[in-house]
Structure formats: C-alpha cells, structure tokens
C-alpha cells in the first residue's frame, strides 16, 4: 500500500482524575503515516510527551484487534470515529486528511465515570451481566453437545448477537445514555437457543432492573447505538427485548 504522512491538530480531553473538571488540550502532530492505526498515533504522541517531560494521555486498549472491547475514544463526535463497524483500535489514519483537526473525548455517560483522560469506568456493564447474563449450568452438568440440534439459522442469529464486545459505544452514542443495545444483545443470544429458555423471563426482567439501577437512561429508539456499534449489533434486538420484557412482566404478574 502506498502511504502518506499527515500533519494533524489533535484536541484531546485531559482530566487528571474523577474529581478534576477536565479540559481540552491541543497538540500538533506531524509525520503520521496513513498506515498507522489511530492508537499508534497516540503512541507516537505519548512518546513525545514523555520525552518532553509531560504527562502522557491515558487511554484504554489491549487487543488492538477490535475484539476485547477495551478501546473507547469518542472521535469527532462519534464513538470509535468515522469508520462504520470499526473500533478505535482498528481505525487507521487513512481515514483522515492532511491538516485535519481531530477532537478526542472519553465516553460520556453518568454510568461511566472518567478515571483519567480518555479512560472511563465501565464496570456497570459487568453488573448487568451479573444480574442474569448467563445460563445457570455448573461445570460437569452438561449433556452431549450434539444432543440438542439447533437450527443453523438460530445458531447464526444467536452468534450475531453474541459478538457484542461490551465496549459501551452504544451508551456513548445515545443521548439518553441507554445500555439497551448491549443488554438486548445478551438477551437475544440466549433467547435463540434452547438452553436459554429456562431462565428466559427472569433474565430479561433482572437485567433491565439492573440497567435502571446503574443509572443508564431509557431507550427512545433514536437508533444512534446501532449506527455506531463497531460490531453492527442490530437494533432489532431491542424490539425483541421489549417484547420479551412485556411478556415476562405479564407472566410474572399473573
């Protein structure tokens, strides 16, 4: 691939800790190859800041392959930046032009307090899973894996929902900071499988309750989550979840 070098202006959110108010800081960066990933550009900038005796920018990342869900930058007003279906770590500098200004912020949501700079606390998502995002089966209880045939169609749909990486971009994209897309993906994964049926009703009720407790907003169907989800989790899962929830509630009341 041919590559070019870019000069860019970065405006990055700096916040010392959860108590600090935070502010934007500007940085000029030069010699950024279009072959670099977005995070590699931050590596270059951080190396420079360290050499200049300044505090480098803290950001979350680990796999850099778009699968662990750790990276989480809000780039020019969009979680994970301009490329559709792509995490921050997989975004490459080819997406930008020489001279561009790029504004980078952390996920912003009441349920995701900032830890430092671009790093936020997403443990609320773990607690939603704790409230019911599993099938209750102890190790050793299982029967032969082929004992229950699962139609390919259902298995595929279950898989598609299960590819959620738990990054929280859907929350960051939503003006209500709702975690519905995340939650619905987990509910859908199990709803398509025979193994998921036993706890189907309690699961959805408990998980929605937990989401409310964590301070995520409610879903008003704006669709921003689906548009920004790096794994292209379908918003139809939310519609299905709403149905599941209503039915489960009705059953629980009867």
């Amino acid at each position: 691939m041919e590559h070019k070098d870019l000069s860019l202006k970065l405006k990055v959110w700096r916040q010392k800790n959860s108590k600090d108010n935070g502010h934007f800081e500007s940085y000029d960066v030069k010699g950024i190859s279009t072959e670099m990933s977005f995070l590699e550009m931050f590596d270059v900038l951080n190396e420079r800041l360290i050499n200049e005796g300044q505090d480098p920018i803290a950001f979350d990342h680990d796999c850099r392959e778009g699968i662990c869900g750790m990276c989480s930058m809000y780039i020019n007003g969009r979680p994970h930046g301009p490329w559709h279906g792509t995490t921050t770590c997989q975004l490459h500098m080819r997406a930008f032009k020489d001279g561009d200004t790029i504004v980078v912020e952390p996920w912003r949501a009441g349920a995701f307090p900032v830890i430092k700079d671009l790093t936020v606390d997403r443990t609320a998502l773990d607690r939603i899973i704790q409230s019911g995002g599993y099938i209750s089966v102890n190790t050793g209880n299982a029967q032969d894996a082929n004992a229950i045939p699962i139609p390919k169609h259902n298995a595929d749909k279950s898989f598609a929902a299960a590819t959620c990486i738990g990054c929280g971009a859907c929350v960051a994209a939503c003006k209500n900071s709702s975690a519905m897309l995340f939650l619905s993906a987990k509910v859908a994964q199990f709803a398509y499988l025979p193994q998921g049926q036993a706890e189907r009703e309690t699961r959805v009720i408990d998980m929605v309750d937990q989401m409310d407790k964590e301070g995520f907003g409610s879903c008003t169907n704006t669709g921003a989550c689906e548009a920004e989800c790096p794994k292209e989790i379908s918003i139809s899962n939310i519609a299905a979840l709403n149905k599941e929830y209503t039915l489960a509630k009705l059953k629980a009341e009867n």
């Binding site: 505090d55 680990d62 662990c68």
Partner: protein, 658 residues
Amino acid sequence: MAINSKIPAGAIESKWEDYKSHVKLVNPANKRSIEIIVIGTGLAGASAAATLGELGYKVKAFCFQDSPRRAHSIAAQGGINAAKNYQNDGDSTYRLFYDTVKGGDYRSREANVYRLAEVSANIIDQCVAQGVPFAREYGGMLSNRSFGGVQVQRTFYAAGQTGQQLLLGAYSALERQVALGTVKMYSRHEMLEIVKIDGKARGIIARNLITGELERHFGHAVLLCSGGYGNVFFLSTNAMGSNVTAAWKAHKQGAFFANPCYTQIHPTCIPVSGDHQSKLTLMSESLRNDGRIWVPKKQNDNRKPNEIPQDERDYYLERRYPAFGNLVPRDVASRAAKERCDAGYGVGSSKQAVYLDYASAIERYGKIEANKHGIEDASHDEIVRLGKEVVKEKYGNLFDMYEKITGENPYNVPMRIYPAVHYTMGGLWVDYELMTSVPGLYALGEANFSDHGANRLGASALMQGLADGYFVIPYTIGNYLADEIRTKAIPTDHQAFVDAENSVKNRLHTLINIKGTKSVDHFHKALGKIMWDKCGMARNAEGLQSAIQEIRALREEFWKDVRIPGALDEFNPELEKAGRVADFLELGELMCNDALNRNESCGGHFREESQTEEGEALRRDEEFSYVAAWEFKDGKSWELHKEHLTFESVKLAQRSYK
C-alpha cells in the same frame, strides 16, 4: 530440590480415572472456609474461578483489564479441538493425544497430554450448555474444520471469534458466581508479589491500578492463570498488556520456569508496515484450510500477484510437504516462509512476506454453490461471486480485519503474510496436579509449560486453558487443600505480608525515581529486537551468547535511564508497563540461556547447528529428551533441573509431514 512430576502409576488410559477416584476430597462445609486466589480471567482463570466458586470455595479473582471479559483469550480466532469424532473420520482420544505429542515434537509429558485429550470432549459439552453459539450445519449439528498438523476434522469454531465466544461463556459463569457471592472480582488490579509463609504460597500483593494503593490478599492457595510471555519480543500477536510479571514473581519466589525458549512463531500474520508498529495481527491458521501459500519462482519479482501466471508460482509448502501441504504445523510453515524470503523470493515492499491466496478456494466453493443451486454453465463471474459469499461466511471477519489494516481487499488480491511471535509453550513448571515447585502455588493455561512440548498445534491452547480450569484443577486442588482445612485464614498483618508489600513498594519507588531520559517503550523495542534477531525463528550459539550480553547491558541502562512520568498513587499506565518490561528484561536472558543449553532443534526451537540435510529440525533425543526446569538462585543466576521424558505410548520418531 528434586523434581517430582507426580504422574500416577498405571496405563496411560486409566491414569486420570484412577487419580480422580482416589484423590483426597474437601467436604462442602470445609470448602466454605477455604480461600483461593486466582490471577487472571482468561479461559484458564475464568473457568477455574467459576468452577471453584460453584464447588463452594471462597474465590478472589484478579485481572488488570477493566473487565474480566477482556482477557487476551478473547482474541483467539480459529477454534478449539476436541476428540468428539462427530465427523466419523477416525478421530479418538488416542489420536488427539498422539497428534499433540507429535506436533509438540516429542517434548511434552505424555500423561498430561493424554488427560487433555480425554477431557476435551467434556469442554465442548460444557460450552454448548452455557450457550456458546458454535458454528452449526443445516441439520443443527455442530460443524468442524481442519487445523494444521492433523488429518481429521476436530476443530469446533464460532466464525473467526472462537476465543471470544468461549471466554464470554466462562465470563458469564464467573459473573454468575460473583452475583452469588462465591467469587469476588478485582478488575484493574495487578498482582505484583507472591506471599510465602513456611514455604507455602499464602497470598499476594496487588496494586489497585486506579488509586495506586497496594493491597494484601490471603489465600490458602494461589492459581496463576496469567497467560503467556510472547510480548518479550515487543511485537507479537498478543494483546498489548500480556506480560510475564505474575509468573516471573512466582519464579523468583522459587517456582521453576520450564522450557522458556520454546516460542511459537505463527506463519500467517500481517507483516510489519513501519517503525510505528505496536503489535502484529494474526490471520487465523484456519485460513490455511482453504488458502494456498506461494511466492514467485523468480527472485525479486516485482510484478503484481495477479499478473504472475500459475506456472511461475512456487506453492512451496505443497511442493515440500505433499502429505500435509498448506496444513503443516506452524513451526514448519514459518521456517519455510523465512527460508523463501531469506533466499530472495519474498514479496511486497519489504520483501519480508509471502502470499496467502484465496482465488482457487473462491472458485472451488463457487462451483459447489452453482451446482447446489442447479445453475448450469455458470459464468466465471457468477462462480466467483458465489464463492466469495461462502468465503465471507467462513472467514468474513478476518478478511475485514485484513482490509482495515492494509487497505487492500483480500477477496481480490492475495493477502501478504509473514511469521510473527504468537504463543509461548514454555512457562512455569507444574506437576501432574498443575502445582508449581512452590506448594500451594498452581499455574494454568498458557502460563504453565505442560502440554504442548516444543510446538503447540492450532486450536489446542483454548482446549488446554479450559481443560485446566473446568476439569483438572477442581480435582487436583482438593488433594492439597484437604490437608489445609485446619489452616485458619492468616491475617494480612503477618510479617510475611508486611515484608512482601515493602519490597513491592521499594521497587516501585526505585522505578519512578530513576527519572531518566528514555521511555519504557524505547527499552521494550530494543529488547524485542535482540530477541527477534537472536532468539527468534533461528538461533545459534554465537548469537545467543551475544544476546545475553546485550540484554544485560540493556537492563543496566534501563535501571539507570528509564523515564516514568506521573506518580505512584494514581492511574499510571506507564508505571505498569515499566514493571512488566523490567521483568521481560530478566526473562529474556533466561530464554537465551535455555536456547543456548538446548543444542538441538525441536518444534519452534531451531538451532542452526542441528538440522537435517533438507534443513528440517533435527532433534537429539539421547541428550535432550527432557524438560529444562530452571530454578532462580541466589538472586542472580539459574540452576538447571532436568525432568526426563519417557515415552511409553508413542514411539519417538523424526517428525515428518512429507
């Protein structure tokens, strides 16, 4: 200290059954007062923590990421092996065992590998019960694919995201136990020391990565499930945070480190594109199922790949290894790629790459689809279109990833690939019960050395991690804890905890006060270069000796001149990195020592001095049929202990894939 691998007596097929029937048990009431610390929440750690919690133990689990779900296991792509024989193609426990021992170039422990093969089928059952959405056929049955080094189809998969799905299954089980109160989860915590009391592992010192506080945690036993150390090379397919620190602290507290030089260099990764490179991306081995690997027959051929006619291409794996073709094991495929590139046949701008080509697979699948749909005389374009759809369904996410990184569309032009560091077979020495040489300290998953010998077969790490966590440790740990039921929780104001915390504190103070001039990454990159050049795909005595000197000098410079910004009592990723690189700088030296000591070639370890006339790895069984277990001595050197390997069920043979 002598080595005792505690392999049960009896025939290989009955060792594990016998062991399980006679192992000591801990009754449920006693389990409730026994505490277990689990470091790591990858496949090994999450499955162990969840299962031990289910059994009623009090578990504390730690990971350095913000959520246990993000452990490096999440990135595994291609699949997980199991001897289910669902394809009726002749698979069996024995065959999986045999393939693994052979694939590991006869440098693994038979009894462990047999047990691994035995429990492999249970893993698939367990995962399906948890709701792991493996790929299925239209009839609703589970689908399998082939992986390298074997001739049966025993690999279960979920598109190119098998690790993700398996880990989410284990993570869900873990979170269920967190909700039930049997497991307490500490994310964004890094274990920085093992606490030993009367020779036994009794706890850890961990740093809360958000506040920087040091914490003391007691446990009747400690499980290290902290993953592999491939990042000693700086560039690898591992996640950025993968590190050796937990295992290294254990090593310095007396746990032997086994076969540190056994490194797996994976043949199919996206090549390095420049100095900015922070990591390398794997293109799953499953791609070798359908893709064909080639280079031009002419040296320095600068034509575009699609302009090179068939008869001017060298499908070198098919040529050299007709029986296995593109599916030879990883070590063989990697060396063959290096050989071609070193000889001047490499492609791309760096010439350090070979082609992985999907054109013929697309055509083959396209024709099958056309037949299926009864399309007669399908045009070439039609066939290609249909074929691309099939390939997309099988490997879509990998192809997308390739395109995002390189900007090239692999459906139309062959991918460029090159070998990269991927996995470490070496690790903490453990006995049959997965206990290290420190009583009460265990190692599971990639962190231990036990099952893969000198080369791991594809789709076997996920199997091993889950085998260790779900089906081995829950039994073997009882054998130790049964004698600990009278041990009360030791208060963490015990002098051993105080001392351990002080030593961690001092080290962190020293690091941050160096206030030198060079970043942590500077040193990490320099170390990586030494390791790659001299302890990488090919090694020789001279290179290894000079690597040892260079690493020592670099380590000295690090402790004089590293610059770590920020403070100790805050969120400080540079400080975390510094601690890890400091440990890599010691590990690197041990790896070179081990590679130097092992003057034979086996699996991923290729000593140039020991090769056949055709350039294949030449083992020297008489001298080297042992596990090299290194003991850290007197705070500065190592003593070698040999665990001799005996092969009763598999006949030692020179590996051949021809």
